[in-house]
Amino acid sequence: MNEKWTNYKGSVKLVNPANKRKLEVIVVGTGLAGASAAASLGEMGYKVKAFCFQDSPRRAHSIAAQGGINAAKNYQNDGDSVHRLFYDTVKGGDYRAREANVHRLAEVSTSIIDQCVAQGVPLAREYGGLLSNRSFGGTQVQRTFYAAGQTGQQLLIGAYQALERQVALGNVEMFSRHEMLDVVTIEGKSRGIIARDLISGKLERHFGHAVLLCTGGYGNVFYLSTNAMGSNVTAAWKAHRKGAYFGNPCFTQIHPTCIPVSGDHQSKLTLMSESLRNDGRIWVPKMQNDPRPANQIPEEERDYYLERRYPAFGNLVPRDVASRAAKERCDAGYGVGASKMAVYLDYASAIERYGKTEANKRGLHNADKETIITLGKGVVAEKYGNLFEMYEKITGENPYEVPMRIYPAVHYTMGGLWVDYELMTTIPGLYCLGEANFSDHGANRLGASALMQGLADGYFVIPYTIGNYLADEIRTNSIPTDHPAFMEAEAAAQATIDRLMNIKGSKSVDYFHKRLGKIMWDKCGMARNEEGLKQAIAEIRQLQQEFWSDVRIPGDANGLNPELEKAGRVADFLELGELMCVDALNRNESCGGHFREESQTPDGEAERNDEDYAYVAAWEYKGNNQYDLHKEPLTFEVAKPSKRNYA
């Protein structure tokens, strides 16, 4: 297992440079996975077409990742290694990921940091000029590289610049404000896509010897999530309907540190980086329904429940554990804030601790409390300033003075299109990279691992694995896009648009999206049970019918029409939501972010069932609300499954 990637690279088929120039590759999505793949494949000499729905590839939602990116560099000499990163990731994923994939991810993690620094990505540095690291949830080493609270932005801009360089060189053709509406398959292989030019409204047919879907996660099925407004499942879902299996759709990550919902107008939720758990302490009052403001609650009347329940990891337990613990306290009546659905994330002690260190650095050994606090605020501002400002803009409260209020929110989806070791879906020639695939995080993703996986797939995996497929395609000439398969797929996409526009119902797209989100959050969210999931499936099927008979889309389809775009995406979310509930119902165990109330220990911890559920659930679309389950057994040679214990 340790040697698999090395052996693979040594024996994989290669494509010679002259042939690469004749091979066309379509990349859909320009986040970390898509931009890095498109740039790398362009550099290698393939003819690449890249697509994104935003106005520029630089805006993909990878840009919003705050905290950092993991790599097994062991620059801190704290015992890190490829094996440790591999082991932490398999364990963090609650033994529901493929060992070999995760090991490869850990192996290439170090090259990612090298590549990004070479591109000029300004990662944080120490005074000696060396790179800085910080710790993150679910680990006991400092392996996270970061650029203040804007790590995703800096890494994406690095990949975007590499991509634009290939655009300038003519190796990549860029199609912004285009949305993929279908995959075109010919004789069982993926041969191109149908895309809609969002400005003209026209459908376009594009050929590719291979197609890469790098289209991100589907957290917006919950309506409220930390995803961007445009993040959607449509590309992956269309591929699923064309035959690509969907892996572990119910595996959703609920992130513990988000700004709580403030009202029914809420359009999205904002994450406060997990890195804040490094220094902040999470607590609730020991008294139920305590009406006092935070700073009037004395120390001994505060319950630092994560430190109490999990002394070894404390506030740095993995995300799923932290989220459930917050829900447990709030459900039990200890929540804070107006809605009582929040817990405190408190920086008072970190400010004091940093202030003392800073005072010592400056030789002020008898500094008064006020000086210490002022100095401490300065240190915290340097580390987390942009996050604190963002919190204040949204809530109107100053987190340097009063503890932040946080609550879990949907953040990431570990599930996605099923892919093999080469990142190919069950449709030959159709690949899936980054968050859109299911592969590396099992049932729970560790912090700072999404950026790592996106860039691993794009920079260091697909450039090898795609050659193994394309080496056999060098005799395939470009297929003209008036081939019947292209014409049929375009006609079907047009028919869907026409059908949506002609409903002329009475309710807006958002009306349906919000209802779907509420069903999903209540019955397929942080805790799930058989009865609720069965109800949810019935309710979603009912909602599908209402949507297709009563949605109202103003305007026309021959130009920019954001309501039409949203309607197409919500139509797909309505089908995906059902499959998520079907998957959650099938998996009668608790693992990672999937918590079945029927499967818990007496003290409320998740109880995994390896005997019956140590498999990837890969669902095949059969039409008309029918899905067939295929099981890929998971075997563990090195990281033997044990009970996850963070206490």
């Binding site: 550099e43 520029s56 630089r58 620094v117 591109q119 540095r125 000696g128 610049q161 359009s267």
Partner: protein
């Protein structure tokens, strides 16, 4: 759950069917606005009402709604991204306004950013400026160990501050000449401050400045409006640095 608030506002919003149509302001009364709403959530409320009335909603660009993707782009009461300093439109909250206010909302105005529809403009000129040289030419797999490149912290911090640009175009919208100097200089500075950017620094600044001119952006006349309105508070020092880089690229052998 807190229900909608009680602010009443008058909105004057630029409506334009497409890039070739003639646009005009339309006036809308909105009520039930809460101080906790973001500016874009207030637009959501208005758009939902327009849809229920059988009218076409107002098109506007937005995506992450957390101030980092650079997609949102409204010119509010004569200011790019509205009244709060260092804030994108999506992070502007209705606390910034008072009950009874009239708010005028326009798209970015610049020859180089043609209007697509309503408040949506085409900013692809920025992508072409990056294509002209806003990168370091290093192919995947060519890199040396990351810690073999030492960068002193002050330079790394300055490079990071310049790289914080989100490419929203507020600098162009705020500038009386619709100049793109702040955007272009932020990228030139980011790369010029790092040793990795050194080999290409002369061609980079030359090519990026030339592309900026080709796109039809105006000249810089040092009004500083760009820095004042930049949601990421990118410093004018970057423009000075780019000017030095440009001069030395022209006169040095």
């Amino acid at each position: 759950m807190i229900m909608s608030g009680d602010m009443k506002l008058t909105l004057k919003v630029w409506r334009q069917k497409n890039s070739s149509a003639k646009g005009a302001f339309e006036t809308y009364q909105v009520d039930g606005i809460s101080k906790d709403m973001s500016f874009l959530e207030m637009f959501d409320v208005l758009n939902e009402r327009l849809i229920s009335e059988g009218k076409e909603p107002i098109a506007f660009d937005h995506d992450c709604r957390e101030g980092i993707c650079g997609m949102c782009s409204m010119y509010i009461n004569g200011r790019a991204h509205g009244p709060w300093k260092g804030t994108t439109t999506c992070q502007l909250h209705m606390r910034a306004f008072n009950d009874g206010d009239t708010i005028v909302v326009e798209p970015w105005r610049s020859v180089a950013f043609p209007v697509v529809k309503d408040l949506v403009v085409n900013r692809s000129a920025f992508d072409r400026i990056i294509q002209a040289g806003g990168y370091i030419s290093v192919n995947t797999g060519n890199a040396v160990d990351a810690n073999s490149i030492l960068i002193d912290k002050p330079d790394a911090d300055k490079a990071f501050a310049a790289a914080a640009c989100i490419g929203c175009g507020a600098c162009v919208a705020a500038c009386p000449n619709a100049s793109a100097m702040l955007f272009t200089s932020a990228k030139v500075s980011h790369l010029a401050l790092l040793p990795q950017g050194d080999p290409e620094r002369k061609t980079r600044v030359n090519n990026m400045v030339r592309q900026m001119d080709i796109e039809g952006f105006g000249m810089c006349s040092n009004t500083g409006a760009c820095e004042a309105e930049c949601p990421k508070e990118i410093s004018l020092e970057n423009i000075a640095r780019m000017n030095r880089e440009y001069v030395s690229s022209v006169f040095a052998g």
